[in-house]
Symmetry: none
Subunit: 204 residues, 2 copies
DNA sequence: TAAAAATCGGCAAAAATTTGCCGACGGACG
DNA sequence: CGTCCGTCGGCAAATTTTTGCCGATTTTTA
């Protein structure tokens, strides 16, 4: 409904080889308060990704040069937790299956209903807000080497994410988290310290 | 091609409300060397699951009483890593998306091509052979854990994902993965064994 | 205000993971 | 052939993590 230009700039990377559609969607999303970066090919998309942090990627499954899946695959690797949403005109079941396997968040059908797109992104923004943070803090000390995130780092980032998410879900109740995650209290504690997780309150 | 009744008994739970189809598929799979348990409803399926350990579940998406998705959802609870394969006649994109979100391994289209089914299961067998072990050690043996997926399980699943992705990205080159993930060769090896990851090459 | 419920951290034993070293194997290549 | 390269696995030591136990504090609840 209300589209408020949030304080938190949620940045969406829109990838589509159809210039018109791309422009239209971008415009629409911008009006709705999203920050939008566009790309008309996978290559350009990667350039954009290097230039700045995006919070979600919306991409056409079928593009001239790079198949959308190959694109997603590379993306998955450099940005493990980055939400990807596909859309396509006549997607076959296997297409959808493969897309989801690559960790797609959703798969929309073309032509895209603006309402649906908006809802998808809004949900995403709400749900994945902190994920981006995790990525940013835990990943790549310097942004030069996008691909060289160590295994350990990624896993730790994920652990952190899980715990923080669960913590939030249970309104900061450690006890509930322990129960939900089936993790030893002591262990959870250790991890929180190690990963620098603080309850509800914040920095400083 | 050659289907050898393996020493390792891979047990498949086949769920379909169509008696004839169910029987036919079961027979076929048995001939191909799988151990098959059948159920014509979600309820029966759960009974079977309590009776014995199965390694994979193949289920129709649309069934009279329980919608396949609801079934999968319950299943996800009790068996977070248990591979589920769906099949359906006229699945919509959203259907597939939801199925995959619930962690479906694959989504086949009805009528099922025996060849495809067989291949799917064979791959599954190869890939998930050892995963069962992980599952067993990863979370409570008891079904008391009705609620959630344990922290450990989730992390393991993620580790598995990272490794498999990297492996795929580097066309199965362990050396490259070691370099990319900055992980000790020995460690990577251990994890692959523990998580049941096999290199691109495949079946027996 | 007292009792009950939640958190947190120190410590040390127990358990699990990681890593280095060594030898082996199969394939590609000169 | 003989070698080099990439992979694998056994073993044991080095490390890291997980857990249990105890007691101290803080927050809620009755």
């Amino acid at each position: 409904m209300t589209s408020k230009p949030d304080a938190a700039p949620f940045c969406v990377l829109l990838v589509d080889d159809d210039h018109d559609v791309l422009g239209a969607n971008a415009r629409y999303l911008r009006i709705e308060g999203f920050e939008v970066v566009v790309a008309n090919s996978a290559d350009v998309a990667f350039e954009r990704l290097h230039e700045r942090d995006v919070d979600a990627v919306i991409t056409d499954l079928i593009m001239p040069n790079t198949p959308g899946l190959a694109f997603a695959q590379k993306l998955r690797f450099s940005h493990p937790l980055l939400p990807i949403v596909f859309f396509s005109g006549h997607a076959s079941v296997p297409d959808v299956v493969n897309a989801m396997r690559l960790g797609a968040v959703d798969f929309l059908e073309k032509p895209i209903d603006p309402e649906v797109l908006l809802k998808t992104l809004t949900d995403l923004r709400d749900r994945y807000e902190r994920t981006a943070v995790v990525e940013r803090t835990a990943f790549m000390p310097d942004e030069t080497s996008a691909g060289t995130v160590s295994f350990r780092t990624r896993v730790l980032a994920y652990e952190k994410f899980i715990i923080e998410a669960s913590l939030e879900e249970h309104e900061g109740s450690v006890a509930k988290v322990i129960d939900a995650l089936k993790i030893n209290r002591r262990t959870l504690n250790e991890k929180m310290v190690r990963l620098g997780i603080r309850r509800s309150g914040d920095s400083a």
